[in-house]
Symmetry: C2
Subunit: 249 residues, 2 copies
């Protein structure tokens, strides 16, 4: 991990910009800590520069609760080399959604699957580069990446945002997920498929033992309309599973 800059944003929060094998990322840590804290990996739809304000808000909440937070640029996004096939599939998907047409599975496959395949190994490398942080939670980002990450043995809990289309393989992977889960769904999300999101929640295996938490929070409104109070719900979910006695514990 090559640290590019370290900035103390206030008395409590330090932001480190880094690259890891050439992938840009950001780490947010408490200014004072008694050793490694729990870690929250912050997923996002791509373009760290554009997403930074929202990511910083989520990171502030994590650090206030005693965790470290980290994120990586998405493959093909921001300043990273474009992925022309992915860009073409994204354009096809947006055109179909705008036209109110069904989105062909093949288009979702060409858009999402390469992002899952390319990004998950990079997140694993990030975990390798941040030893000692335990437990680790996944939070948000592209749904199919969150499901794949929820299968990573170092992930203790996952907060999934059902805000993007799913390749067929994701539903099969979901059955193997056993960590505690909170899934957020925006009921009127124009870019999402509600039926598919509910099928995903149903498929997730986290209730297989009848002991693990598996919760869906559905709110009225569109993709970006997640109510502010869901921030508190997410903090309490993480507090339950990162065994943190922070303000949300």
């Amino acid at each position: 991990m090559h640290v590019i800059s370290t900035e103390h944003l206030d008395d409590h929060l330090t932001e480190h910009r880094f690259t890891l094998d050439g992938v840009p990322g950001v780490l947010w840590s408490p200014r004072t800590t008694g050793g490694p804290t729990p870690l929250v990996l912050l997923g996002h739809p791509g373009d760290l520069a554009r997403m930074h304000p929202r990511l910083l808000g989520r990171a502030r909440s994590c650090v206030a609760d005693g965790y470290t937070a980290a994120t990586l640029e998405l493959p093909g996004a921001g300043g990273r080399p474009r992925l022309p096939a992915v860009d073409a599939a994204r354009a096809e998907l947006r055109r179909a959604v705008r036209a109110g047409e069904p989105v062909p599975d093949a288009v979702v496959e060409r858009l999402v699957t390469p992002l899952v395949e390319a990004s998950v190994p990079e997140w694993r490398t990030l975990l390798d580069a941040l030893p000692g942080h335990d437990p680790v939670a996944w939070s948000g980002g592209i749904t199919a990446i969150g499901v794949r990450m929820a299968l990573e043995p170092r992930i203790a809990a996952a907060l999934l945002f059902a805000g993007s289309r799913l390749p067929r393989a994701t539903l099969d992977e979901a059955r193997r997920v056993t960590v505690p889960l909170l899934m957020l769904l925006q009921w009127d999300d124009e870019g999402n498929d509600r039926r598919q999101a509910l099928d995903l929640f149903d498929a997730l295996g986290s209730d297989a033992l009848g002991r693990t938490e598996k919760t869906l929070h559905a709110n009225t409104g569109g993709h970006t309309g997640v109510p502010a109070f869901e921030g508190g719900a997410a903090a309490r979910f993480l507090a339950r599973h990162l065994r943190c006695r922070g303000r949300s514990g």
Copy 2:
């Protein structure tokens, strides 16, 4: 309202048993209060004696947050005159569920509609008998009764438990509901119809203006498996809409 008994359960909570036009009920109030508090009407599936421990738990949370809580016996339940047609329909429904057969709409109509028609006027009479308590919220009980009560002008917010079958009319009534809503759904509730519960959430009109809160919390598990943390979520929902600065505010 004829008060039968008043018992100080602890330093904070007083339980009043009463009858209202012959209908048994229970009122839970703070021992000390500066005038009328917000009021929470506690719905339940019937038989106050059997439900009392769970109702008392919900009432304790309400009173701790600064509200008064009240409930009434359901028509045909507990010591009230039986409703043979309702009992027969309930037996039919249970038989069909046990046999894994679809439950005919006519059976749901014969079971639920008479309970809605008979109980809602009784709840309105209870509101008449408890003047000054404002705002008032509805919490739980038979889903179709909760939807009808959410249309009562004195109800400012409603917590619905999607744990029972719905007459067709309830989906139409739901479109006219405009108060803030939190709906709880037990994803694997054997006595429920998940598709119907999701259709109800979709139909509820509380998002019509795009400003009102309409949230679904679905948890894995059966009818009685609501996770303990949903108690906190319910308290925070009530605190938001009863404008209370209690422990959950």
